[in-house]
């Protein structure tokens, strides 16, 4: 049984509506028993003054960019909140300039956090008005969208196309991500606190992804790999290592459902942020008739044909080595 507190990471570029969203959520009954951690950038924090809460003790405030000074601060903050008690979920609002990667990695690998919180979902706000140029010009904004489980499109009431351009800009980076509108922060709390894609539902979205996308530039893209035959377990770990080594900082996120030769009826779930991975878990069985291995890779400079060839080559080498007399 999972006894950890659900943690939602709310991120989005400067001015994209994160604080408006939190302010609106705090007024909703469904938002009770939620501790909010606000990470502001700059010496003078304003966001916390803009948010009124009936439980000030459930709001932890930090200055400085969390992604730049992650060492233990998030764990300490959560520890302080746990000592206060009285809540059953956490919302971490990042600075608009934050790269969420180290925050997510810390939640995965820090022993205290790993035992205490369950990183449920990453929600990213994208401004329908300024979002398209921001995503074009700012790498931090693209990285935020790259890591999103759900994107909330804000300020759609300020544009004439109802956010079509912003939707297109997001879809260009993440054709698989879930998109919901959020006007004046009006959004159902469950969109932030339930997994955007419960269990392996996100795999259904793979069908929407181009399977032969061929990209060599520095743009963030989402590619998918599909294999019909089960892999050796060691192939999976070698491939992840090869990705981490050869793609380095260009690798942003990996998600996958993998058929392993050692346990073909219980697929392995792989989920990582850059080179840091959740412990591999196994499903009791395949969620559908489709028993193929499916991996989704999000990052830069990805060449899907090379990635597929690398995986096949590693598997061929492992198969050859393990079949030796």
């Amino acid at each position: 049984m999972n006894t950890r507190l659900p943690l939602t990471v709310l991120t989005g570029f400067l001015g994209s509506g994160k604080t408006t969203l939190v302010r609106a959520l705090l007024r909703q009954p469904g938002f009770q028993r939620t501790a909010v951690i606000i990470n502001e950038f700059g010496e003078i924090g304003l966001d916390h003054d803009l948010i009124a809460s009936s439980r000030e003790d459930l709001m932890a405030l930090r200055t400085g960019c969390l992604c730049c000074a992650m060492h233990g601060e998030l764990a300490e903050t959560v520890q302080r909140l746990m000592a206060v008690g009285g809540f059953d979920r956490l919302l971490l609002e990042t600075s608009g300039l934050a790269d969420p990667t180290p925050i997510l990695q810390t939640a995965i690998v820090d022993p205290y956090l790993a035992a205490t919180v369950d990183l449920t979902t990453v929600v990213v706000t994208v401004d329908a008005l300024h979002g398209p140029p921001v995503l074009q010009e700012h790498d931090a904004a693209r990285r935020q969208v790259a890591l999103a489980d759900r994107v909330l499109l804000t300020k759609t009431d300020l544009v004439t196309d109802s956010g079509a351009q912003a939707t297109q800009a997001v879809r260009a980076l993440r054709p698989d991500v879930l998109l919901s509108p959020s006007i004046h922060g009006n959004v159902a709390p469950h969109l932030l606190f339930t997994p955007a894609m419960p269990s392996t539902d996100w795999l259904a979205l793979l069908h929407a992804l181009p399977t032969a996308r061929h990209t060599h530039d520095a743009t963030i893209t989402t590619v998918s790999l599909r294999l019909d035959t089960p892999l050796h377990a060691v192939t999976l770990t070698l491939f992840l290592q090869a990705l981490a080594e050869n793609c380095g900082p260009d690798l942003l996120r990996v998600k996958g459902l993998v058929a392993l030769r050692e346990s073909p009826e219980t697929p392995a779930v792989v989920h990582g942020v850059q080179h840091v991975f959740y412990p591999v878990t196994w499903l009791d069985g395949w969620p559908s008739e489709d028993h193929t291995t499916r991996l989704v890779l999000i990052g830069r400079r990805f060449d899907v044909e090379w990635l597929a060839l690398l995986l096949h080559t590693i598997e061929a080498e492992v198969a050859q080595a393990t079949s030796l007399p």
């Binding site: 790993a114 035992a115 080594e245 380095g248 991975f277 412990p279 090379w306 690398l310 080498e317």
Partner: protein, 101 residues
């Protein structure tokens, strides 16, 4: 010539951000190996894949150094990258402890 080995190398150089920038690929003089050349056309590495009693191995020669046999594509790319792109940031896979560390 081994098309797979060449395609692996081409993709790796692209992933490292060096293909057609500071490095490019040709066949080497024996036409059995793939040569990695610098922008001036000098061979900086020569790579071929061959069979051995242990299965496939990768033969890598860096410049004038002695040829080395690497046991897998992963180790061959690691060896090449550490010499050709030593400044490039490299990730090491790390698994989180999960709920019960």
């Amino acid at each position: 010539m081994d098309d797979t080995a060449q395609a692996i190398l081409r993709g790796a150089l692209r992933a490292w951000g060096t293909l057609n920038d500071s490095m490019f690929l040709t066949l080497d003089d024996t036409r059995e190996a793939t040569a990695i050349r610098d922008a001036a056309g000098h061979v900086i590495a020569s790579v071929r894949r061959q069979t051995s009693p242990l299965g496939w191995v990768w033969s890598v020669r860096l410049g004038d150094r002695r040829e080395r046999l690497l046991p897998s594509v992963v180790t061959a790319l690691r060896y090449l990258r550490s010499h050709l792109c030593p400044e490039r940031a490299v990730g090491q896979v790390l698994f989180g402890p999960g709920e019960h560390p």
